[in-house]
Symmetry: C2
């Protein structure tokens, strides 16, 4: 696949979105599209900027569009009864968000909220259906993406169900370092409450574990900035439960 082709299409849509938006961290799910398909997809897309804290997609609304994130960081929240929240994962630049219920009930099964300022574009779901119908490679890529999220959620479920708090906090820190920020002192931009919501525990409990880790010299923390000093220790704690 010649990168030139994608670049061309990107230039067409002015803000270099879409061809890269659909990248899930590895290769672009979009590489398999023809120039015509890319153009079809990009045509009529709406580009939107959200400020930190704003809601990009709201759980239980109807899912007529797919969103791809061009720049920024967002959190995926499953809202339970009451004001209970569970942050499922973070999504960074070049992610595609189908809202969970695409292909099924056209309902969004989670809320997506901007953590930093987020640039993204909204694409009509119909176009995705069209691509699935006409381009089997694209269908395959979408299946892969879906599968990956499925496995990730499975691991999450097992972790949260079977591990004690220190193990869950370790998992979170390793996730943030290795899958989201990809560098070591990293700035989460997330409040303690939000971090706790990623582990399914209360803020107070989360803070206590964090403090233990600080005291043991495993991490150092400054505001929303976290520095992992002993990754092996975290991995050990993660495994021990």
């Amino acid at each position: 696949m010649e990168p030139r082709r994608i670049e061309e299409a990107c230039i067409k849509c002015k803000d270099r979105c879409c061809a890269r938006c659909f990248d899930d961290g590895e290769e672009s799910i979009f590489n398999c599209l023809t120039t015509e398909e890319l153009e079809m997809l990009v045509k009529e897309k709406r580009h939107v900027t959200f400020n930190a804290g704003e809601t990009i997609l709201k759980q239980n609304t109807s899912a007529s569009h797919v969103v791809c994130i061009k720049r920024g960081l967002a959190k995926i929240i499953a809202e339970g009864d009451g004001d209970k929240k569970l942050i499922l994962r973070l999504v960074a630049t070049h992610s595609i968000l189908t809202g969970g219920g695409i292909f099924i009930d056209e309902i969004r099964h989670f809320t997506v909220q901007a953590v930093t300022q987020v640039d993204c574009c909204f694409i009509d779901s119909e176009k995705i259906y069209e691509l699935v119908s006409n381009n089997s490679q694209f269908a395959f890529e979408l299946l892969k993406l879906n599968n990956k999220q499925n496995i990730q959620m499975l691991n999450n479920l097992v972790g949260i169900t079977q591990k004690y708090m220190p193990g869950r906090v370790s998992d979170l820190l390793l996730y943030l370092r290795n899958e989201i920020f990809l560098c070591n002192p990293f700035d989460t931009r997330l409040s303690r409450q939000e971090l706790a919501d990623m582990t399914g525990m209360t803020m107070e409990s989360f803070i206590r574990i964090l403090k233990e880790f600080k005291t043991s010299g495993i991490i150092s923390v400054d505001g929303t900035n976290i520095h992992i000093l002993d990754e092996e220790a975290l991995q050990l704690i993660s495994r021990k439960g």
Copy 2:
């Protein structure tokens, strides 16, 4: 779609499997296949019978085959560290099992074990890939199936994370009644340990909640047989947390 066509193909494969195996409780994911495709799929399939308790698929082995269940009940188990287990869901007659990691890493991410005697057939994953490539409707159906499982796991995750034990037991009982056995006094054939493993709690805790429900007159229990007497009460408890 003329039912005759499917019937024909079923007769060809002698034991009337496959065309119906891939049904996920609603319409068959397989309805969209041509006679040739069905034949291609069914050719070289291996039909196997498992006794109750036997392992059908084992977590962490390589996933070269897809399994469809023709008859019986099986449980999907995520094995954690130690001997911790979480039963993700049950699968009944006419289900397709991709093993979790098909399309990604070709590794099975969970174990599948027979609860009753299970008749199933093993189909080479390659054939599924081939169908996805050649039949967009099939790809679409597979995406739907995947999506559905994703949403189910999401709800499970939220439930287990945010609800107290009575809520989780309620959810389990409603799941068994409305999604698996589809009748009211139902015989789970599952031990207390297994039922507990579906809720992420210990057997003793599970038994205590069950007893509370019995005492309150919400259910009656005889061995592995459960009779829901007051479904509304269960729904209320499920919502309350």
